[in-house]
Each structure stands twice: as C-alpha cells, then as structure tokens.
C-alpha cells in the first residue's frame, strides 16, 4: 500500500504550509485564506479526499515533510535545479519571476536598472536573492544586497527607509503594494522566468500520489479553474508551462 492508497483509505490528505506568505497563504480576519487554499480544495475534490491543513513556521515545513508529518507541502517554492534534486515539484501554479518593490514616494526608481548603487533587500537563501545578485552584477555600480530571514522584515525595513527596494516574486509583491498602496509600489520584473510549484517527496512510496496531484493540477489548468484563481488572488493570469524539467536557475 503506497501513500496514495493510504490517503484514499483514510479519506484525508495532510498538507503542510506556513501562513505568512500572502497571497498564497495568509490569515485574513482570522481565517487562513489564499490561492493555495483554493488550489488544494480543488485537488481534494479531484482525489475525493478531505484536505487537512497543518500550518507551521516555514523553518518546520520541509523538515516536517521529510519526517512524514504530512503527505505534501501546500506552500509554493520557486522551482530550482538544486531543489529538484531533493524534491519532486508539481506543475507550476504561478510565475515566480523576480520583481522589485519600492517606496511609493521614491521617484528615483522607475525601471529595474535604477537600483544601481542602491541597497536592495531580499529573503535569506531564497531563489529571489540569487537572482537579484545575478542581476546586480550587470549594473555599475552594483547594488548592495541585504538578506532577511523573511520578506516581511524586508518590507518593514523598506518602509523604515533603510533600503531602497525589495526583490521578490511578482505575485507576492503585487499583493503587498495592493494592500498598502500609500507606502509601496511595484517596479517591473527583471531576471529570468521562474515558476512556483508545490514540493513533495521523490520516493517510490509517494510517486503515485504526486502523479495524481500533477494530473489534478493540469486538469484545473486545462478547464480554466486555475486561471480564475490566479485572477482572483493576483489580479492577473500567468502563462505557465505544464512541467518544468530544466529550470532556468
């Protein structure tokens, strides 16, 4: 009996995520909401099981997956080469290309190249930081980068005026600017195209489960449900491939 069989028998699939990653997962007026909730509700319907949410600090999510605390991760991660060596990713559900968030009052930045010589923040050990550094090398003077444990501290520091911008995936940044338009504004994306997918385990036990989830997502994509969800949460839709086999980073 493999993972999929066990889940079907129990009628419940356990998924783990964190809740401080708007607009994918966040707490709005006390309820856990976001794109992930909708996506997995649909996946649950396709598989004919209930979804049980386990929410914890991001530091506990991937270790929790490996320890078997839940069947798969419901928080998206940028699909990268290194990560694909350790985990199996679902088909992309959104674009993860890096864009810039700046202060709404700052007129000196209108395009990505304007960050030359300025200090830009990003999340520690994230794919976005790597791309920011990559992009920075092409500018003179190169921007200084500052890394934060989570993006929320970076946003706070941008508001406090210590940094000129934050580099993060477009969907996230668009959401931030939409929430506090008087403080933040979005600058167009830079960098190579990347995508968000949900990580799961690579082992044989989980193979059929991951296959089933992949199929469900592709079905949602094909019948337009995924697009509706993207419209609802990001205010736009993304053109994503059916699978990422060779990530750009």
């Amino acid at each position: 009996q493999d993972a999929l069989a066990r889940i079907k028998e129990a009628g419940v699939m356990k998924v783990g995520t964190e809740t401080a990653f708007a607009p994918f997962d966040y707490i709005d007026a006390g309820d856990h909401v976001g794109l992930n909730m909708d996506v997995f509700a649909a996946i649950g319907e396709e598989l004919g099981v209930e979804i049980e949410w386990i929410t914890l600090d991001w530091a506990g999510v991937l270790p929790g997956l490996e320890a078997g605390q839940f069947d798969m991760v419901a928080g998206p991660a940028t699909i990268t080469k290194a990560r694909m060596e350790r985990y199996r990713f679902t088909p992309p559900i959104a674009e993860a290309t890096v864009a810039l968030l700046k202060s709404a009052k700052d007129d000196s930045i209108t395009k990505p190249e304007d960050i030359a010589g300025k200090t830009i923040g990003s999340g520690h050990a994230t794919a976005q930081l790597a791309q920011l550094e990559e992009f920075g090398k092409t500018l003179t003077p190169a921007p200084e980068t500052k890394d934060y444990v989570s993006f929320n501290e970076a946003y706070a520091d941008l508001a406090a005026g210590r940094i000129a911008g934050v580099a993060n995936s477009l969907p996230n940044i668009a959401f931030v600017a939409q929430q506090r338009p008087e403080i933040f504004a979005v600058v167009a994306p830079f960098g190579t195209k990347t995508y968000f997918g949900f990580p799961g385990l690579k082992d044989d036990d989980h193979a059929s489960l991951m296959d089933a989830i992949d199929a469900a997502i592709l079905k949602m994509k094909a019948d337009g449900r995924l697009g509706e969800m993207q419209q609802k949460w990001f205010g736009q839709t993304f053109d994503t491939p059916d699978a990422v086999t060779e990530p750009n980073i």
Binding site: A67, A82, A125
Partner: protein, 222 residues
C-alpha cells in the same frame, strides 16, 4: 533521513564567521547588559524613592515583553522617531537593554543580600559611598550574583538567534541557510545545538570557576 555532515562542513568559512558573530554579540551584549543593570540597580538603591519607583516601570515593561517585540520596535520603529540604527548596533542595544532589566533585578537582590551592618560599619569608619560599593558591596554580593548571572548569560545567548531577523548574520541564520540551501535541516540543527551546548557549558564553567575563586573565605568555614 541520513545524516550528512560533509555538506554542512563544506561551508566552513560561512559557519565560522556566523559562530564568531554570535560569540561577539553575546559577549559584548552580556557585558553591556550587566553594566547597565548594575548602574540601574545602584541608581535605584541610592537615588531615592522617586528614582526607584520610576525605574521599576521600564524594568517591568522590558521583562514583561518578548525580546522579539522589543527588537522589532527598536529596529523598524526607531526610524520613525529619527533613530535609524544599523543592524548590529541596533541588535547590541536591544540585547543589552533587555538583559539589563534582568541584571538590574539580580543586582538588586545582591544589594539586599549584604547585611546592612556591614555597610554601617564602613559608614562609621568614614568610607565614601563609592568606596563602600567598590570595597564592600560588590565583593560581598559576588557569590550570590554569579549563578543567576550565568543563567542570564545563557538566556541572552539563546536570544542572539533572534538578531538574524534584523539581518545580523549570526550562526543560527547561517547554519539554517546552509541547511536550506543544501537541504540538510536536521544536520544543521544538530550542529547549532552542539555549538550552543559548548558555549553554555563554557559559561557554566566560567561561573563555577569564579565562584570557587571568590569563595575561598567561605571554604574555611569555622
């Protein structure tokens, strides 16, 4: 889930600089905390009822709220009132003020532990207040103050991990970053735990050593 320490150790340089940062922040922060705490306790003892009462409020507020919250308010809220500190100074300031509130209480207990008669004897002999603090009170309270001070130092060591939230590259951040880049969380956690354990035991050892040194007049109990 196999253990694979090679992955972690391949990032030696980063790790060592993280550990060095932790030790630096810890040692400097703890010393500053003890110093400020001592000054506060002294001001409370000699500054009259008003100063005593006035200082109680910040002490209780600082002891009563999490370090995380204080750190955030100082670092992200400071700029709004014109106090824009860099990460490291902000971290050190927050850590030493936080610790100082506890040290102030430790030293208060220390002051109370010295029999008033010992101070009166010195007053009668014409010692000035500073001489009394330096020659009578401090040496006499030392034995009582050391064990809780070591405890406090250990607690401050653990709080240094939070400084990573304001971008101080201390070792928990470094190690967990390596862990997440290389996908070796458990290995990273075990490594951090080991380093902390060593530092804590060192602090304990130092405390016990100081106690032993100071207690020579006690060992010979008649």
């Amino acid at each position: 889930m196999g253990f694979d320490f090679d992955v972690i150790l391949s990032k030696q340089d980063q790790l060592i600089s993280g550990i060095a940062m932790t030790i630096f922040v810890w040692v400097v922060g703890t010393l500053l905390a003890a110093l400020i705490g001592f000054i506060v306790a002294t001001a409370r003892r000699y500054g009259g009822v008003l100063v005593d009462k006035a200082l109680t409020v910040p002490i209780e507020v600082i002891r009563g709220t999490p370090f995380l919250v204080q750190l955030f308010l100082l670092y992200f809220g400071g700029p709004y009132i014109g106090l824009s500190l860099d990460a490291l100074p902000a971290g050190l300031l927050a850590l030493s003020v936080y610790g100082a509130a506890y040290f102030a209480e430790i030293f208060r207990a220390g002051y109370q532990s010295v029999p008033p008669g010992h101070v009166e004897a010195a007053e009668c002999l014409g010692f000035t207040r500073i001489q009394i603090i330096r020659n009578i009170l401090l040496p006499e309270m030392a034995l009582l103050v050391i064990p809780p001070s070591v405890n406090m130092a250990i607690i401050l060591l653990k709080e240094t991990a939070l400084l990573s939230l304001i971008t101080v590259p201390e070792m928990t951040m470094t190690a967990s970053a390596i862990g997440s880049q290389e996908y070796a969380f458990v290995e990273a956690m075990v490594l951090i735990a080991l380093v902390y354990w060593v530092l804590v035991e060192l602090a304990g050892l130092l405390g016990r050593f100081a106690e032993k040194k100071l207690s020579r007049y006690r060992l010979a109990k008649a």
